[in-house]
């Protein structure tokens, strides 16, 4: 054990050390605080058409919010064709709230109809470039073959894989449901359209008056 002099010296050094480390931590905390502020004024829009550009988003939100930046989410993990999604940063939290309210209270059409977009407040883990979260410990250990708990860990891995498969199956299911709905709506739309077309034709050709006479129905114009 060192002498008391050396010990005191060591203590002084340790304190200095901690102060220096503290500076680093302060920096990281500030950076994360700035990031969190940014998250609060960012909204996450999905069910977005792949044809929509940042310009279109900016223009469409102009009525309630000024868009500062738009970051489209890259699909790296889903093997099916999915709608686009974007993180849209606006000037402040109240604008973000206004945008979210607008898009939730009314079906909001962006770049096409009738499927509306969806908007929610962004969360930190949506940002691929998020900074280091101060206080989040990166703790690890090794549980290798022969160690106790090795089997348990392997089972956990199996569980994780199974859950992934379940999730992917649900996604596939959802996407198919959406395709069905779209097809169904297209049919309905075309049917309505031809109905209106037919009506229009009857009116312009004058056949409607003949029909009215035949069925002994009074036309409104008489």
């Amino acid at each position: 054990m060192a002498t008391s002099d050396e010990q005191a010296h060591e203590d002084r050094q340790d304190i200095k050390d901690e102060q220096l480390a503290h500076k680093d931590d302060e920096q990281a905390e500030k950076e994360y605080a700035d990031f969190e502020a940014r998250v609060r004024r960012t909204i996450y829009i999905d069910h977005l058409s792949p044809l929509v550009t940042a310009q279109v988003i900016k223009a469409s939100l102009a009525q309630c919010a000024n868009v500062v930046s738009t970051e489209f989410i890259q699909n790296y993990t889903i093997q099916y064709e999915i709608p686009a999604a974007a993180l849209v940063e606006v000037d402040n939290v109240s604008q973000a709230q206004a945008a979210v309210d607008l898009m939730n209270n009314f079906p909001f059409m962006l770049g096409g109809m009738p499927r509306p977009v969806r908007a929610v407040f962004a969360k930190p883990d949506m940002f691929p470039d998020r900074p280091r979260k101060p206080g989040l410990k990166v703790e690890f250990s090794w549980v290798k073959q022969g160690d106790p708990g090795y089997d348990g860990m392997n089972k956990l891995k199996g569980l994780a894989r199974r859950q992934e498969a379940e999730n992917m199956a649900l996604i596939k299911n959802q996407l198919e449901e959406e395709k069905e709905l779209a097809a169904q709506q297209q049919e309905t739309l075309e049917a309505s359209n031809s109905k209106y077309d037919m009506l229009e034709k009857l009116i312009t050709d004058g056949d409607i008056t003949k029909l009215a006479q035949h069925y002994k129905v009074k036309l409104g114009d008489d």
Binding site: D17, L20, D24, Y44, D46, H47, L48, S49, P50, L51, A59, Q74, Y76, T77, I78, Q79, Y80, E81, I82, P83, A85, P107, M109, G111, G112, M113, P114, R115, P116, R118, D125, P128, D129, R130, P131, R132, L136, V138, E139, W142, V143, Q145, G149, G152, M153, N154, L156, L159, A160, Q163, E166, N167, L170, I171, E177, E178, K179, Q185, L189, N193
Partner: protein
């Protein structure tokens, strides 16, 4: 702050600035290392494991602030998308042209150390390096990367950053050589004699070494004001690490020989730059870090009061342009494809969803002692937040393979066993058609102009009004979406529960 780190100015140059309050210099000594104009240095960026390499092109002090202007070098990794042809293992590229990324002004204190960069261009303006110079050099370069138009070229430009290119190529005299073997011998003698021998970085001249009492051996042959700032009466800190075996180990304990008592004491696991001892064995540790003094532990025995020295860079932040954002479009995307082709890409799963790139890089560094770049890739709408996924890119195929094996053998992070594999996931190309659910009415009766107008009207964003067919259809979608969200929520909650109860069972 930096009060305890040694500093002194060297040769003065012109005065300038609007109020004549700026003094330019030709050299300075920092932390007992002498730096001159056009020396090559390392700078650290907060949170990154690899330092940047740059050339000092301007040195000045204005009021209290000491600044340096750094002209950047690029590593092959940084410009991978634009690289063509063979690349030497220690090759770097000098920035040229105009624009972001050419040069930056940084606080002088952000300099982490010196390195040798030798130019091997055959251009007549470049003094050809001797074979010895080439061998001992940390890096070589002969190509230039134009930051303005993102092109690589062997042609030496006339000027870079307003300077005649001559000063940026090899210095006229053979100055920046270090003969480590002789260093070691010299050191042994001195250590035995109990004297302090400051031998900081690679830019130590051969002749200086054996002269023990010389405070700063970096006094050059030319007419520089000798750095008197480090007399023996003060504490001189040297970094004398134990012999380094592992290539990828970035942590080296530095051991100074202090004479005075007051010294900055750092954490023992700071990174320190030095040169490898055995250049004969052509050791190229993780592409970057080299050791300047590599003494065996036995010569350390007579040294009293061994302490570990902190690295200035760990305390300061370098304000630099964020180089990762330079080369659009989607620099990551291209990087990933390229890395995958070269077998350096690893797909890791079961991470904590809160882990960002920095946490993952830190994990890989601490657990595997490997450097890498990482990107979390979970899709916020669809991916299960119980299972965090990321792509990690390593420096070589072998290293990536090694990492996969190690991680799969049983790396557990916060109770989560990670699993990984090589290669990109197969995803469909980004859709280029309309969204599923965006309907079109095929109407032959409209003439082309009407069709155009209708197209424009459709693509204008708006809130759907209740008295339209569109509204009814939109409501269908909102209903479906709500149901979907609920299903996902239930599934993900169930997954979280399963994991918890499984973990609890295992505890028993």
């Amino acid at each position: 702050s930096n009060e305890n780190i040694q500093f002194s100015w060297g040769k003065k140059r012109a005065k300038g600035g609007a109020k004549m309050d700026t003094q330019f210099y030709g050299s300075f000594t920092f932390d007992n290392v002498k730096y001159s104009l056009y020396d090559c240095v390392y700078l650290f960026k907060n949170g990154e494991s690899e330092p940047y390499i740059g050339k000092i092109v301007k040195i000045w002090q204005q009021n209290e602030a000491k600044k340096v202007k750094i002209l950047w070098f690029f590593t092959p990794d940084e410009i991978r998308n634009f690289l063509r042809g063979p690349v030497a293992e220690n090759e770097i590229f000098l920035a040229s042209g105009d624009g972001t990324g050419l040069a930056d002004i940084n606080p002088l204190e952000s300099i982490a150390g010196k390195c040798t960069v030798v130019c091997i261009s055959k251009d007549e303006r470049n003094r050809q390096p001797t074979p010895k110079e080439q061998t001992v050099a940390d890096y070589i370069f002969y190509r230039f990367f134009d930051v303005g138009n993102c092109t690589l070229s062997e042609q030496v430009p006339e000027k870079i950053a307003g300077l005649e290119v001559n000063v940026l190529l090899n210095p006229k005299d053979e100055q920046v050589i270090c003969y480590p073997d002789q260093d070691v011998q010299g050191m042994d003698q001195k250590v035995g004699a109990g004297l302090v021998a400051p031998l900081p970085q690679s830019a130590v001249k051969m002749d200086e070494i054996p002269v023990a009492p010389l405070p700063q051996s970096a006094a050059k042959m030319e007419d520089e004001i000798p750095v008197a700032a480090v007399p023996l009466s003060q504490s001189v800190a040297i970094s004398l690490p134990p012999s380094v075996k592992e290539v990828d180990k970035a942590q080296v304990a530095a051991v100074p020989l202090p004479l005075a008592v007051e010294e900055d004491v750092p954490k023992p696991t700071q990174k320190v730059f030095k040169r490898t001892e055995n250049l004969t064995t052509k050791n190229m540790p993780s592409k970057k870090l080299k050791l300047s003094q590599d003494l065996t532990t036995q010569s350390m025995a007579p040294v009293p009061d061994v302490k570990v020295r902190s690295v200035p860079s760990a305390q300061q932040t370098t304000r630099q342009a964020d180089r990762s954002k330079w080369f659009k479009p989607q620099p990551w995307h291209g990087k990933l494809a390229q890395a995958d082709k070269e077998g350096r890409l690893v797909y890791i799963q079961n991470l904590d969803i809160r882990f960002g790139a920095s946490e993952i890089v830190e994990l890989i560094r601490e657990a595997l002692q490997l450097s890498c770049t990482a990107k979390p890739i979970n899709h916020p709408t669809y991916d299960d937040p119980n299972n965090g996924k990321a792509y990690v890119v390593f420096n070589s195929r072998n290293i990536a393979d090694e990492a996969v094996m190690k991680i799969n053998s049983g790396l557990v992070v916060g109770g989560r066993p990670l699993y990984c594999s090589k290669g990109l996931l197969k995803v469909p190309k980004p859709a280029s058609g309309a969204l599923v659910g965006h309907l079109t009415i095929s109407n032959q009766k409209m003439n082309p102009r009407q069709r155009e107008e209708q197209k424009k009207a459709v693509s204008t964003s708006h809130c759907s009004q209740p008295n339209t067919i569109e509204y009814d259809l939109a409501l269908d979608w909102m209903l479906v979406r709500e149901k979907q969200a609920m299903k996902f929520s239930i599934l993900h909650k169930r997954h979280a529960g399963e994991r918890k109860s499984f973990a609890a069972k295992m505890e028993k």
